[in-house]
Symmetry: C2
Subunit: 217 residues, 2 copies
DNA sequence: CTTATATATGAACAATTGTTCATTTAAAAA
DNA sequence: TTTTTAAATGAACAATTGTTCATATATAAG
């Protein structure tokens, strides 16, 4: 009965702590931080409110932990492992990969909740804004512009302002992610937006690529 | 002393009501609706909280009035007056006009506050989401795609999916507006984003336009 | 087993919240 | 002016909030 769940047995304490975070994230992202009460969180996990205070100093600390987790979340690491040199040479495939990553992220419920929390708190919480700006926006756009610059040198794409291009590639993906998030909230169909992820990559690539040869047909 | 302020003299009542809305909008957009108290609003306009209840049934009604105002706000009417036929024929000028409108809107403090309110409440308030989707997103993107379709027929731009193109044009403008809003909140420089508004129009137009003639030089 | 430690409970608290209402003050109408 | 209507005040309310703490219960260590 008391089966071995992997190498480490999670203590009851850290399991509860994780459950608090999970439950709080779900509630914060749907109702907003301020509108979510400690009783809401405790109630949703079938426990009394006072129990939470064995794991977190206060309500703020729960939010701060979630926000801290944002920096290590997949939501901010678009280029995780890729080698700059090779990545750039892959041209369109690199962009298609990022497009797909965005699309998948939109449909991962954990990332979706983090994204919604980010969007709501960004405008009233300076720390969240900082994380969004540095990790989610700047870091990705800068890396992307580096890749684009390499592609220009390799004459894969037309010479242009790499930072502008990076923004132009990034912005619609961000926007479509937001659209998916909004549509899902009302259980509306997301299929039209899904296709926009792909069409964006296609349209963008066609706008920047250098044709190898004129058509010979 | 008792000077005539225009044709109609605004009664004290409706002046106060307007002041409540203005003050509430500023506070809601910076602190969030839930985190703003009735005392905050009253205090910011130098009045006691109970005074507000002569003008609004409750706190919710203040928000609902602001949300209702959204539908008639400039933020949702990008194509206010333009004649479809002529507008489409103007080609790049039409797009540049919309780009400029977005840019100006980002720096109008009234619109900025409305935008921030919209962004924060959208994820937890179905009515706001509905207004965003219908008036801010759908209406504009549909109109835009109609214009783009006309431009295709006039062979001003390449034949393509008009709705996709409309989204591709709209998304970065929306994103840059959000960026301006975030930067201004921390009093950071917005100049790099300002130039992105213009570069976007230029880049987009170059991506879709049909060259009249091959270069003759 | 016994002991020690970690976690959960129940009850309570002080502060803050939205809201009401009788009363006072100001404005408009007669 | 007087009368009527509108708006602001001060005080209070009930409900909800985050948080604390002594106690109970479960888990782990000896």
């Amino acid at each position: 009965m008391d089966g071995d769940k992997g190498t480490f047995a999670l203590s009851k304490g850290s399991k509860t702590k994780a459950k608090i975070l999970k439950t709080a994230l779900k509630l914060f992202s749907t109702k907003g931080y301020k509108a979510t009460t400690v009783r809401d969180i405790a109630g949703a996990m079938g426990v009394k409110q006072s129990a939470l205070y064995n794991h977190f100093k206060n309500k703020d600390e729960i939010l701060e932990t979630l926000i801290g987790d944002l920096t290590s979340s997949a939501i901010v690491h678009l280029f995780d492992d890729k080698e700059p040199q090779e990545a750039a040479r892959s041209g369109k495939a690199l962009l298609a990969g990022i497009g797909t990553k965005f699309k998948l992220m939109s449909f991962d419920s954990q990332n979706e909740a983090l994204f919604k929390l980010l969007m709501q708190e960004m405008f009233r919480n300076e720390r969240v804004r900082e994380i969004y700006n540095e990790h989610f926006y700047q870091e990705n756009v800068k890396k992307l512009s580096t890749y684009l610059f390499m592609m220009m040198q390799d004459e894969l794409i037309r010479s242009s302002d790499p930072l502008m291009l990076a923004n132009e590639f990034f912005a619609p993906l961000f926007f479509y992610q937001m659209q998916v998030s909004l549509l899902k909230q009302d259980k509306k169909s997301t299929s039209s937006v899904v296709s926009l992820f792909e069409k964006h990559v296609e349209f963008f690539w066609e706008s920047i690529r250098i044709e190898k040869k004129e058509s010979l047909f």
